[in-house]
């Protein structure tokens, strides 16, 4: 562990990449748990949703038929955990016939702007996402 970490001064940029559909594998749920745990450490956290990962953010998820808990409401709590940057890749949405309107309305309250509600989801192109990824210190892929 670096000296910077010990005095708490070193804030790193963490990116959690979500590539898989919400159900069928444990990846999506585990990623969310890791994000929630990691949020306790005051780092600069971003999430990205690419490939089938974009399905994690779709609204109106109903898991009654598969007997698995619908954990999608938990994404609405991310703002409370100061996780406010959710990058969604436009091309992945388009390739699956989805638009921004199919996604949940996720917001956070901006402490520096009189707690105004602001959208957490940022639509980015594949090229723009590349730039965001290049800025990260740590990238974890699920």
């Amino acid at each position: 562990m670096s000296e910077d970490m010990e005095d708490g001064g070193d804030i790193k940029k963490f990116m959690y990449m979500n590539r898989k559909a919400p159900y069928g594998t444990i990846y999506a749920l585990e990623a969310l748990e890791v994000v929630l745990i990691g949020a306790a450490f005051d780092q600069d956290v971003s999430l990205a949703f690419v490939d089938d990962g974009v399905f994690q953010l779709t609204k109106g998820q109903d898991t009654a038929g598969i007997g698995i808990k619908n954990f999608s409401p938990a994404f609405k709590a991310l703002g409370d955990y100061d996780v406010t940057k959710l990058y969604v890749e436009k091309e992945s949405l388009e390739e699956r016939g989805l638009t921004a309107d199919d996604l949940m309305d996720l917001v956070y309250e901006d402490e520096d702007d009189d707690w105004a509600e602001k959208p957490s989801i940022r639509l980015v192109s594949r090229d723009e996402l590349k730039t965001v990824l290049a800025e990260q210190d740590v990238i974890m892929s699920f």
């Binding site: 929630l36 306790a40 409401p73 609405k76 709590a77 409370d80």
Partner: protein
């Protein structure tokens, strides 16, 4: 492992958290509180009920930092503080209050 409440069997895990949170009711909460050595007052119920509502909405048990922030917003500064919560739940508000509320152990809770 299970609690017996009013003739019903309520399954729980090795740390005492309910296996099925739909089995929760006020009598179950009272038993859970007794196990934790806590005498439930209106103030305790306020926090427990708040946690139930939070879980209903978000499907997760909030971390202590998030709980404090949310309480501050809805109930004011005095009740939205670590100190107040530790007065009510001395062995860790997130852990104890979540258990009494029938919720799973909070993710990443200490």
């Amino acid at each position: 492992m299970a609690y017996e409440v009013n003739g019903k069997t309520i399954e729980h895990d090795e740390e005492g958290y309910l296996s099925d949170l739909t089995q929760w009711d006020n009598d179950v909460a009272a038993i859970l509180a007794k196990d934790e050595g806590i005498e439930m007052t209106d103030e305790h119920w306020e926090v427990v009920n708040f946690l139930r509502e939070y879980y209903d909405e978000y499907q997760i048990a909030p971390a202590i930092r998030v709980l404090v922030k949310a309480l501050k917003k809805t109930m004011g500064k005095e009740k939205g503080s670590n100190k107040y919560l530790y007065t009510l739940f001395p062995y860790g508000p997130a852990k104890q209050a979540c258990k009494i509320a029938g919720l799973p152990k909070p993710t990443g809770c200490i």
